[in-house]
Every structure is written in structure tokens, then in C-alpha cells.
């Protein structure tokens, strides 16, 4: 549909990939590297004016559940913006657990692909507004987009637009669309993909994967017609250099400090500075000065 909602503030949503007690860098880049305490990064993003936060448990094992739940609890106690939690959510009970801990919304991908009716179960139990369906897309050789499960590791053979429409009809409140090809690359969002999904749906769409500079966010909204934009590395590298890291093992992270804000082609920036950049270009953002 045409999206006249564009005149309302778009949302800027840092995504934090979580492994056990740690924030790790984007899943598509080789290996997982510890960046520090997710709680600390979340606190900085909240102060800098993030509109929401996403925690994605990238290991999603039962073993790590308690550590995730206590992180959610700690976050919900003094970060007063919406928190979406995803990774390893397979049932209504899993949803209840993370909401009980203080999350506002949940994100599902793999489990919904395996059993689409899970979307309806969650929407009926907790309301559509609680459910963000995450869709990971990869472009095929034929130029179509295919939905992937398990953080881009498993192809499903399903067309992304058809899946998005189905997800909407089953009761999803929002769709988070991630370009697997662009994720972590810093070369910008996949605008064709974003626009395809945003036009196909009547629910809000969050674009994700590929943010490398302020202009990418602009394009995602103005060209891709996204209602919200999410990024990980783009914010993390900047935050990393501006935080005193509490009790974390920084081994192997020295290169961030040496390379400054440039990292893997990403011109990292803070939420606050990004928003100023967007407001200058007349993209409506929430005025987050506190």
C-alpha cells in the first residue's frame, strides 16, 4: 500500500545480538566476537534517543535462556523504551517467559517458518502488537527473494513476498525484513527488497541489514518506504569507543580502537548524531533530547 505514514516520525532501532551474557557483533560477519555488555550498550542507546531496542539471542539454546531472561529483567528496570526480544522462541510459553521478564514484543522467524500457525497463536494470546515477525531474505540468481531460516543458514524455497503476506494474514503486528546479502556489509540496505515488502503489507515494516552511513537510513525510508530502520554494527562500533567496558574481556577487540569509526566499510555513528543527520534532510524523527 501507499505509505502516508511517512510523515510521522520513523523509528531508529539498534539491534543487539546476544550470546550468553555478551553483546556480539553481527551474525553474518565471520565468527562471533564479543563487544561487551549488552546492558551497557542498551543504556547508551536509550540515552542517545533510540526509539526501541531489539535483543536477538543468536545462540538461542535452552542453556542460555536464564542468562537472557535476567538480561531482559535488568534492561526493563531502567530502560524505558520498547524492547523486542527474539531468538529461539518456539512456543506461546517461550513468549510468555520473555514478556514476563519485561520484554514488550517478541520476534520469531525459524519457528514460524516451521509452523506458521504459531503466529496466530501468539497474536491471539498476546495481541498482534506484541509480535514482530522477522523475515530473512536472500536474492536468488533469478532475482527473486527467498526466505531463510536459522540466521540465513537454511533456505526454505519460499518466496519472501508471499511469506510476508501470509505472516500479515496470520496476525503479525510488524515485519522485520533483513537482507542476508547486505547484513554486516555496510553497503546500504537492500532498497528493492524493503520497498517490495513495505508496499505489499498494511502493517509497519522495519528494514534491517547493511547500514553503513547516515544516507543509507535516509534511502531506506525515502526510497525503501520503511516505517522503521534497524542496525547493529553501525551503532556498536561508535558505542564501543564511548563506553567504559564493565568487567568484560576485551581481548581481540583492540582493532576497533585502532581503526576508529571506520570498520569493514561502516562509518559508525551514534543514534543521536544519526537522527540529527536525518532531521537535517527533513526525515521526521523523534526529538530525543532529554
Amino acid at each position: 500500500m501507499d505509505n502516508a505514514g511517512g510523515k510521522y516520525p520513523i523509528r531508529i532501532i539498534p539491534r543487539l545480538d546476544i550470546k550468553g551474557p555478551n553483546l556480539v557483533k553481527g551474525v553474518q560477519m565471520e565468527g562471533l566476537r564479543v563487544l561487551g555488555s549488552p546492558y551497557q550498550f542498551a543504556g547508551k542507546y536509550y540515552k542517545d534517543g533510540a526509539d526501541e531496542l531489539i535483543y536477538m539471542d543468536v545462540v538461542a539454546s535452552l542453556y542460555g535462556r536464564n542468562s537472557l531472561l535476567s538480561l531482559i529483567e535488568r534492561t526493563a528496570k531502567d530502560i524505558f523504551i520498547p524492547l523486542t526480544v527474539g531468538g529461539g522462541i518456539r512456543s506461546v510459553e517461550d513468549v510468555r517467559d520473555v514478556l514476563r521478564a519485561g520484554a514488550d514484543k517478541v520476534s520469531v522467524n525459524t519457528a514460524a517458518l516451521k509452523r506458521p500457525v504459531l503466529i496466530r497463536e501468539i497474536a491471539e494470546t498476546f495481541g498482534s502488537s506484541t509480535l514482530v515477525v522477522s523475515i530473512e531474505a536472500k536474492k536468488t540468481k533469478a532475482g527473486e527473494y527467498e526466505a531463510y531460516a536459522d540466521y540465513g543458514r537454511e533456505a526454505t524455497g519460499m518466496d519472501v513476498v508471499q511469506w510476508a503476506e501470509k505472516v500479515e494474514s496470520l496476525g503479525a503486528g510488524e515485519v522485520l525484513i533483513t537482507s542476508i546479502d547486505n547484513e554486516g556489509s555496510g553497503r546500504g540496505f537492500d532498497l528493492e527488497l524493503t520497498k517490495l515488502i513495505s508496499r505489499a503489507l498494511k502493517i509497519p515494516v522495519i528494514a534491517s541489514g547493511g547500514a553503513g552511513r547516515v544516507s543509507d537510513f535516509y534511502d531506506s525510508v525515502m526510497v525503501g518506504e520503511a516505517d522503521a530502520v534497524s542496525a547493529a554494527s553501525f551503532f556498536h562500533y561508535d558505542a564501543y569507543q564511548n563506553l567504559d567496558h564493565e568487567g568484560s574481556n576485551n581481548e581481540g577487540n583492540r582493532e576497533f580502537l585502532q581503526k576508529g569509526r571506520q570498520y569493514f566499510g561502516i562509518e559508525s555513528d551514534s543514534v543521536e548524531s544519526l537522527k540529527h543527520g536525518l532531521i537535517e534532510k527533513s526525515v521526521p524523527c523523534r526529538d530525543s533530547r532529554q
Partner: protein
Amino acid sequence: MSIDIGTVAIVDYGMGNLFSVKSACDKVDLKSKIISRPEEIINSPMVILPGVGAFGDAMKQLSETGMADALKKSIDKGNYVVGICLGMQLLMDRSEEFGSHDGLGLISGNVLRFPQYSLEGLGYKIPNVGWRKVLAPDRMNRSVPFPFNLATGIEMYFVHSFYVECINQSDVMLVSNYAGTQFATGIRSGKVLGFQFHPERSGVHGLKVYKGLLDLLGGNSRN
């Protein structure tokens, strides 16, 4: 066993974002407790009714648990009732969400669905998700202080597909706009209050609402 006077009761009826509401209360030193039995709210000076989910299911839960009656009794006793998001919508007479459902009828008005297209034919994403401006209604005298120490035009976090239309315009404290519709987003009739946005998820400005609730209780909360 009833809870102490001065403790705000946050109603757990299986539908709410209870923990963020509790955290916000904690942050402003508003003493609160999550409760799930109707007898626990009667002696509370203020009851907060949170809520996400479907109107019909929520009313069913409230009725079956006896919470609906307890809320009405609570009003009769002179206590405050504060509805948030779906909780605010439940305060109204009726909702058109998936059929027609009766609400608690504590404030006169109806709950309607946002149009997908405005009168000008522009398309809008539903639910309305994000930070939207909260404004004083036109009728409000500019010299009257804005409720809860808020400044007009500040942004709060919303996520909803339905909105409230009050019958008495004097019940409308705050309004917002979406999909070509101006709707009530802060309402008050006597000791019954409602907020369509999530003050507990709206950063420092949202916390001012909780501070305002603490102020409403005045000495009560510190006794």
C-alpha cells in the same frame, strides 16, 4: 489478605505489560504491587489496568475473574482507576473490535478502528506504531497548565489499531493524530484516567505521567 493503603495495584489478568508498568512505578518511587485477585484491589488508592491484546478477550478475563466488578466497586469507594493502552479502551462503553463488545463503562464513549485510508485516500499502516505527538485539545485554555507537567507536542510511544472517541469532550485531556483522525489519547472523568500511549515505554517524558500519578495520590502514597 489485603495490601497496604498507599500501594498502587497493577492488575494482572493475563493480558498486560505488567513488568514495564511496575518498573516505571519503581523508578518514580510509586509503591506498587502486581495483583491477580479482585479482593486485593479494593483497598488500594489507585488501580492501574494495563493491557495489550484483544478487547473481547480482555473483558472476558476481567468479568470471569471478578475484576470488572471489583474495579467498579473501587471507583465507588473513591479510588483512582488508571487504564493504559488497551486498559484505557476497556474503560469505555463499547468497542467495535471483531464484533461489538461492552466495556467497563466507566467513561462514556466508544472504541473504533483506525481507517486504513484517510478521507483523502492516503494509505496508513495499521497498527499505529511509534512515537507520536501528544497535544492539548483545541478547547483547552492555554493558560491552564498541561496535565502531568507535560509540554504540548512531546512524543510518546503508541502501538494500537483502535482508538477512543469520548462522548463528553470535557473528558479529553490529550489528543493525538493518525490516519487522518484526531483521537483522545489522555482521558479523565473524575478519578478515572486513561492513556492510549505507553507512558512506561516513553522515556523520561513518559515517566512524568507516573510521577503525576504519584502526585495525584499526594500524601497517600507516603503514608
